[in-house]
Each structure stands twice: as structure tokens, then as C-alpha cells.
């Protein structure tokens, strides 16, 4: 209840400020924003129940329709919608501008879809349109890229920071073997939020006794620039001749590092892993530069999002924390904090399975 008290205090403070302030500045809205979440927490955990309805109209709105990543994720969504005997549909812009999804949301609202499953190009630009959709009774699920919480009912989170951070260390340790050695990280920019969170979990994972023989010697930053990442990889190998492995938790970094390793003596000796896409790294996996890397499976992401949308639209769940729903082959899933549903541990791509994925 402490939270609620604080929230009330914040509300009171805001209203005071509202009276006192003569202009509308950033500070005002920040305080207002701090006060608002309290209101959304009110919705209790209504018990789920009932069946998934048939014939639900579920529309997928990816960031961009010609993007192979979303072609796969939405194929998963289509499978899920078909499995619950719903009506699947997919629309979306051909560019990724902040605003280009808005007219699609409006159209879907006009068409009275039962649920919209969207990957937002801009976390805020789509919110007013989504709120209008919600007001018209449409359920909103975000996947891959979330919106501000007031714009959606559920977010299907593909990348639980902890899972991604820890599993990359586990993957590299498996590739290097029990003798351990020096390892380095090739990240994006020094202030990249995602990467920094993952790196924190990597460092934490490395503290465990089973990694006592591993030593993180350097975190390099390639700024998500191909050339810079390439040079940083070169620098790492020169500065640490005994380096055993590199983790690059960024798709730009891992590709550049792989290209450098491929043309150097270190190929196959210095293990490289991290986050990347199969199409981008296929050749490196086949020629042995990379043993394995990981990423979530976008198909499963769309699949889970499709089931979540069906459950919401059928009224079996409302999006409150603790509710459970069944997501076909993925089994039962639970709604976590802030209306988030986790996809689960990432998928490892290696020589055995990489040809099953095209994105």
C-alpha cells in the first residue's frame, strides 16, 4: 500500500503544481507522468475463464511489411490465429516513419477488428490512435517493440534482459570449454540502454563459481558502426593475444567481428557469439568462424502474440498481472508485471538448425 500512498502524494503535489505553474514546462509533465501509473494499477487480477471464441478478427500491424523479420513473426501469428479459428489479416506501412502506422490503426478501428497486434515504430506516436481503438472495444497487443503502457493491453516481450545477458555468457563458456581464459565484449555505444543492461547480467553471470577461470578483460564499443566495430575487433586481438572469446550483443557488432575473424589467423580459435540474425551470419556459421549465436525466434514471438490477442478478445484474460492463458504449442503463459508476457529463453542458431530460419 506504500506505493498507493506515494502515488496519492504525487497526485496532490501535481495538482498543487498545476495551480502554481503559469506555463507548461517539461517538469510539470514529468511529475504528472510520475503520478499517472497509480491509476492503471487499480485494475485487480480478475480471474480468467471461459473459452477462446471462434471467428475473432485479429489484425497484425508490423513495423514494416517488407521486412523479412516481420514476415516470419507474422507467419507465426497467422498460425496461431488459424489455430483458434480466427480471421487473420496483416496490414502495414512500407516505411518506418513514426506516424505511418497511425492511419492503419484508424482503419482497423473503423473495420471493427477484435484485436490489433502491433510492433510500434514509435512508442508514443501510435498511442492516441490505439487509445481510440481501445475505446471502441478493440484489444491491443504489442510485440517486438512496445508502446507506452496506456496504448496497449499486453506486451509480448521477446528479450527478457536477464535471459539474454546470462545465456550469451553460457553459450560462449560452452564453446570455449572448461579451461576458460580471457574474454571480451564488443558492444554498441557506451550509453546503449539495452546493451548495458545485458552486459550487467553478463558480468553478474561471470561471478558464478563455474566461470572462475574466465576473465572479462575489456568492453569495447563499436558504436553500432560496421567499420568501427571491425577496427575494435582488430584492436582487441592485438591487445589481448590470449583472447579466447568475444561476445557481441549487437547485430552490427557481431557481423563486423565475424568478418574480421574470418580473414585472420584467429578464425575458429577465438570464439565469437552474441546476438545476430541467421541470414546475416549464415556464411560465418557454415565456414566455422562462428559456432553458434542466439536470438529469439520471431516466429514464436508472433505465435504467442496471436494467442494473447485471441485470449484478450475472448475475455478469458484482461491483461492483469498473474492471469494465465494457453498459447498452443508454447503451453501456458502468465502475464507478468506491467502487462508483459515473456517469450522465454532465446533460440541458439548453429550449423544444425540455421537453414531452418530465413530472416
Amino acid at each position: 500500500m506504500a506505493i498507493r500512498n506515494k502515488a496519492f502524494a504525487a497526485l496532490a503535489l501535481t495538482s498543487l503544481l498545476g495551480v502554481a505553474a503559469c506555463g507548461s514546462t517539461k517538469e510539470d509533465t514529468q511529475k504528472e507522468a510520475a503520478a499517472t501509473p497509480a491509476a492503471t494499477e487499480e485494475g485487480g487480477a480478475a480471474a480468467g475463464g471461459g473459452e477462446i471464441k471462434e471467428g475473432l478478427k485479429i489484425a497484425f500491424l508490423p513495423k514494416q511489411i517488407n521486412n523479412p523479420y516481420f514476415t516470419i513473426s507474422d507467419k507465426g501469428g497467422e498460425d496461431a490465429v488459424n489455430a483458434v479459428k480466427g480471421e487473420y489479416k496483416r496490414v502495414g506501412p512500407s516505411d518506418t516513419a513514426a506516424s505511418s502506422q497511425v492511419s492503419y490503426i484508424n482503419t482497423l478501428t473503423t473495420q471493427k477488428q477484435d484485436a490489433i497486434v502491433i510492433s510500434a515504430n514509435d512508442a508514443n506516436a501510435v498511442v492516441p490512435a490505439l487509445q481510440k481503438a481501445k475505446a471502441a472495444g478493440i484489444k491491443v497487443v504489442t510485440y517486438d517493440s512496445d508502446t507506452a503502457p496506456e496504448g496497449r493491453d499486453l506486451f509480448i516481450n521477446q528479450a527478457a534482459a536477464e535471459d539474454l545477458g546470462r545465456s550469451q555468457v553460457q553459450l560462449l563458456a560452452k564453446q570455449i570449454g572448461p579451461e576458460g581464459g580471457e574474454i571480451a565484449i564488443l558492444s554498441a555505444t557506451p550509453n546503449a540502454t539495452n546493451q548495458n543492461t545485458w552486459i550487467e547480467f553478463m558480468e553478474d553471470e561471470l561471478k558464478k563459481p563455474e566461470y572462475s577461470k574466465f576473465k572479462l578483460v575489456k568492453i569495447a564499443y563499436g558504436n553500432d558502426d560496421d567499420q568501427k566495430s571491425f577496427e575494435e575487433t582488430q584492436g582487441l586481438l592485438q591487445a589481448y593475444p590470449d583472447l579466447k572469446g568475444i561476445i557481441s550483443p549487437t547485430t552490427v557488432g557481431i557481423a563486423a567481428a565475424a568478418r574480421y575473424l574470418q580473414g585472420s589467423d584467429a578464425k575458429g580459435k577465438v570464439k565469437l557469439t552474441g546476438l545476430g540474425t541467421p541470414n546475416q551470419l549464415r556464411d560465418f556459421v557454415k565456414d566455422g568462424t562462428i559456432e553458434g549465436f542466439e536470438l529469439w525466434d520471431p516466429g514464436k514471438l508472433g505465435y504467442l502474440a496471436g494467442y494473447a490477442a485471441a485470449a484478450l478478445a475472448s475475455g478469458t484474460i484482461t491483461g492483469a498481472e498473474g492471469e494465465k492463458f494457453t498459447a498452443g504449442d508454447l503451453g501456458e503463459r502468465e502475464v507478468g508485471k506491467n502487462g508483459e508476457v515473456l517469450l522465454g529463453p532465446p533460440t541458439v542458431f548453429d550449423a544444425n538448425n540455421i537453414d531452418d530460419f530465413d530472416f
Partner: protein
Amino acid sequence: MSEVKTRLARWETVTVFLLLVAILYGATTSGEDFLSGGNLNSILSDISEIAIIALPLTLIIVAAEIDLSVASVLGLTSAVMGYLWNHGWAMEMIIPAVLVMGALAGALNGVLVTRLGLPSLAVTIGTLAMYRGLAYVVLGDQAVADFPQQFTDWGFGTFAGTQIPNPFVLFIVLAIVFGVVLHMTGIGRSIFAMGANEEAARFSGIRVKRIKFWLFVVTGAMASLAGVVYAFRFASARADNGVGLELSVVAVVLLGGVSIFGGKGHLLGVICAMLLLGTLRNALTLNDVSAEVLTIVTGSLLLLSVLGPSVTARVREALRRGRGVDPPPTPTTT
């Protein structure tokens, strides 16, 4: 006035006809959904910024110039709004500040075109890149989204219980102002005159350079205003706001029957054309036509807008010759 009538009897009629076809298409294929108030609202709000920028651009094109930097001024405005907001400025101060900045951006175009005598196409392609670049310098790739509620509510809200979006009401007011200036005042007649024949206009005492300069200033300020509307409507200020919007705006103006060579056009035609663009896009999306096809349609409309008037002009010419009536060439200014 008869000049207006004969002009309406040409390309604008085709635009109105196309608009009716688009409405009919939407109504027959999507019925209730298309004709609902909510849908009218989304059609109108979708074209808000295009509509606002098309007003001054109509004047510019009638004056036989062009301004392709408008969408970049819109983006720069969004970026500067976000920057100033992050630095604690009050929104009531930011809005006038960015409008002045937009006017200055337009003034730079104007100086380069009128004082240095450079072609406006080249100048504004240059500033198109430059202003967009500046926008990225100012805000980088971040998005500023915590604007005060009352402003974003205005951007997304509707006017006094109707389904007409607030930004569109702003457009209507501006359209009346621009319509009166272009079609009912001496300045408007001067704009037509210099678009038809700059040399002749100058010799008849019209201060061509001065008017052109101010047209660019006004266009900059209006593009900036559209940037403010855009930032509020999407509750998001980003440097890439409105990328590529200049294409739609130019398409709308030309489709509205304004001659790319200057000297001809009517604001009502342009308004019909923007409604046509909005309606057509909306009707097609309601029918689940994919985004690629939508882009092709917009592109074709642009082509049609350049081809159409010249074709209709030739048809008229041919008809006139066929009848053997050869009226003396009327000056475009009446």
C-alpha cells in the same frame, strides 16, 4: 470571374470527378465503415499537415517557383520543439519561437532565390537536405514525447463535438485567409501575373522579388506550423518527422490544377485534390490494399497531375481549332 469559370471547366472538374469516384468507390466497397463519422475524422486528420503546407505552396507554384524544403522544415521544427522542451522551455514560448525559426528557414530560401537569382528547385533541394540534417544534429535519433496533455489532446481531438479534427479546423481558417489573398487582392493578382510572365510583371511595376521573398518566408512559417501540428498530433517530436511529405504536398497542388509553370490555378482545386488524396488512400486501406500499391497510386496521381492539365489543355486547344473559333489569348490576370 469568367476566367475562374473556364478554368474550373478544365482540370479542376476532373479533380472533382475523381474525388466523387473515390468517394463512390469507398462507399460501395466499405459501406458504413467508410461513411462513418470516425472514418471522416481519420481521412481529414491524415491530411492535416499536407493541407496546411499546400496552402502557401499553391501561392509559390502559382508564382512559378517551388519549395521542396517544406517537409524538412517540418522535421526541423519538431526536432527544435523537442530540444527546447527538454531544456525546460514553456510550450507557450516554444511555439512562437519555432514559427519564427520556420520563417527564417524560408527567408534563407527566399534570399538565395531572389537576391542571388538561383533557381528555387536547386536551392530548396539543397535546403531540403540541409534542414533535415540540422534536425538530426539538434535531436539525434531520440524522440521527445512528454509534451503537455492539453496540447497533444488538441492535436488528436475534434472540434466542439463534431468529428472534424482540430488541426483541420485550423486548416479551414488558414484556407480562407490564403484563398482571399490569392483570389481577391492585388497581391494575389500580382502573384498570378509574375507566374505567367515575370518580365512583364516587373515592367508593370510589380515588386516581383519582394513578393517572392515573402512567399518563401510565409511558406517556411506555415511548414513550421505544420510541424507543430504534427508533433502534437503524434505526441512525438523526432528528427525524421514528415520525411518525404513534400512529394504528397506537391502532388496535391499540381493535382489541384495549379500549373507547374506558374500563373494558373485555384485554391479550391487544390482543396479538392487533397480531399481526393485522403479519400483514395483511406478507401484503399479499408479494402486492405497493400502499402506498396498505395505508394504506386500516390506516384501515379503525381504523374497524372503533371500530365492531366497539359493533356486537357491540348484537348481544349484541339476543340477550339476544330470549331474554328480562335479567341485572342487572354492574359492570365484579369
